[in-house]
Subunit: 393 residues, 2 copies
């Protein structure tokens, strides 16, 4: 009954979401306090109080049509201008509202970007470990994902493998830093090398290759780490941002796409991105939430909370003998699966009521991802379960 | 630079939107009060006050994670249950939350539906006059729209032409009642005949044909007209609803898709719709707005305001000699273009600062659409301009 072309999507349906549903079931059975659910990146830290105030005063002060009505498909000009100014202030860019397209989250931005640039059988390169939903987004437009195996030394970019993966059909490289699932931030050196490689390859092939920087975790970093902005390194860059994590608003579907003026054929491209936003059915990013985040651009959720989770979890897991990557950003801990079989390890963990996602779901078997955007108490309570678990190895 | 496959979308970019932008430009030049902009279906009537109160109390009373966090891709269970109950009460259906999928507006619902059922070159039938963006939505998934010419007598369905248009490749018929742009409500008789025809044809071809009922105007009707619910007539029916018009929330992107349990392979289909919602990048309908409309299901905007506009506009236009269809629902007046050339007529109207959309943009040349969801004063002020305009004929 469903379309043949839809079957690839349902067959590969998200392991993360499946784990999330299984966790909800288990919680009903054994009680939520006895489930250590590290499966989904659903922020537990509340949105800033100021967001409530912003929403309340927008509703009070602005006319309904301005708050809830249609606007340009690109979004509210006032909000786009404020975002451009913030980026310019912080990143030294020179954006205007004409470089900012408000989207239905970063997932919306990625779909708008890929629809605009992909023809069937065009290739999109993803660097393991990566959020496998990228594959579905590319497939929506007939694109094909080519995976670059992980640099398991530093979880930066395996450039030798990347160079070998680029072909004349390569249309985009998706990068994600701070990275889901590894928690690693790509260094300036990595970005510089990436820019050089793509410039060389596109010249050699007479092609145009985009960097699509998926950056929902940009503002979630620890220990004063800096996340270099990508557009100064490479002109054909598109940046996808979302407030899902920085303001704890994943259900609100609010983000933006950066379309720098330097990209080739900017005018045609900008128009096409706006049309893509409309015809995919987004039409525009949710209006009230655009206005609300516009009032909260300099705020963030309580990152210190995640930092404590990070240090505690990393601390006791490494002390027990687990091998983990110390996260520099995001709220994921990337851990080697004892015994090497990540799926088996997750299965054994499940028996101890620990829910996490196998690295296979991020094109990087042998590891597991723990989303530590959970109550601190859950972290503490999970310690014993992790101890029982490692004794099985 | 943009994908070849994207060019069809930018080439046919919305005439309605273009008119909307032109109107904004003209308003800057000659003053908004001197522009009679009937181009866009952007409700001027405010959202109900109770919606503000609902939002404010949700923000005050519910924990942030519940208000703004991820939920199931299908949406909040509580809201879906309330919607199902309302439909059951009013339409005599027997829905549960498992038949209601919250979407990013009706445009989101249509895209989710079409992605799930269409394979490349599958045919989607649209009945003129219709919102041509349907063509883009179908094309997103390789679908091809076949147009059934209008029944210019009653603007119901031209069944002879429809019967001739159905082929073994027909996968769906999109209907839209109350209709944009004609304002007509499809009668029970029309729906019954449609169901009979599709049942016969799908049996003859061994195919499955869906009715997709796009119903953003269901709750905007006049003179006590009833809009028959489609699912009792035909089992393979999908209904797309949106609060864009009934609560004046078009910018908020909030609606739902009805997936009746009676459709073939319900379980597989339901799962596929949820997956489509996720992989298209919607992920879920905006969370706070789901909860807010859930508190306002029995409310509507001030329909009496539109009714006065409708009667006044219809009254003076017909008195001047224009030929109009008396709208039964929605907020569009469908008018014969004097002289027969709708594009030329719109051009002449533009000179009088009247903005409207040619019927060609709804696959029905010879007519024009006036969106009367505008200030009553605009209606009154436009009278003279319409008089000047008809004197040109």
């Amino acid at each position: 009954m469903i379309a043949k072309s839809m079957k690839q999507f349902t067959a590969n349906s998200s392991a993360v979401r499946a784990m999330f549903e299984a966790g909800a079931e288990m919680a009903k059975e054994v009680g939520a306090e006895n489930v250590y659910d590290f499966s989904l990146g659903n922020p537990n830290v509340p949105a800033p109080e100021a967001l409530k105030d912003a929403i309340t005063s927008i509703l009070k002060e602005m006319p309904s049509k301005q708050v809830h009505g249609y606007m340009s498909n690109a979004g509210h000009e006032s909000v786009r201008t404020k975002i451009a100014e913030k980026l310019n202030r912080e990143q030294g860019t020179a954006f205007s509202q004409n470089n900012i397209l408000m989207t239905v989250g970063a997932a919306g931005a990625l779909n708008v970007a890929l629809k605009t640039i992909l023809d069937p059988l065009d290739e999109v390169i993803c660097i393991a470990p990566y959020f496998v939903e990228y594959g579905a987004y590319a497939a929506n437009y007939g694109g094909v994902v080519k995976t670059v195996p992980a640099d398991t030394e530093n979880f930066q970019i395996n450039f030798k493998a990347l160079a070998a993966t680029i072909t004349p059909k390569t249309r985009a490289v998706i990068i994600n830093s701070p990275n889901n699932p590894s928690g690693v931030v790509y260094s300036e050196e990595s970005l510089r090398s990436l820019a050089t490689l793509l410039t060389e390859k596109s010249a050699a092939f007479g092609s145009e290759i985009f960097i699509i920087a998926d950056e929902p975790y940009r503002d979630l970093v620890y220990d004063g780490v800096t996340v270099p902005y990508v557009t100064p390194f490479y002109k054909n860059t598109l940046v996808c941002y979302s407030w899902s994590k920085s303001l704890s608003l994943p259900g609100e579907r609010i983000g933006y796409l950066v379309v720098p003026s330097e990209i080739n054929d900017y005018d045609e491209m900008w128009n096409a991105f706006c049309v893509a936003n409309r015809v995919l059915g987004f039409v525009n990013a949710p209006s009230l939430m655009q206005l609300a985040v516009g009032e909260c651009l300099d705020l963030s959720c309580d990152i210190a909370y995640y930092d404590r989770n990070r240090q505690t979890l990393y601390g006791f897991l490494t002390a027990m003998g687990y091998t983990c990557v110390m996260p520099q950003g995001a709220f994921y801990l990337w851990m080697k699966a004892p015994g090497g079989d990540d799926k088996l390890f997750c299965k054994k963990a499940f028996e101890e009521h620990i829910l996490m996602v196998p690295g296979s779901s991020f094109a990087c078997p042998g590891y597991v991802r723990l989303a530590y955007c959970v109550d601190y108490e859950t972290i503490l309570r999970s310690e014993k379960a992790f101890e029982t678990l490692i004794k099985k190895y």
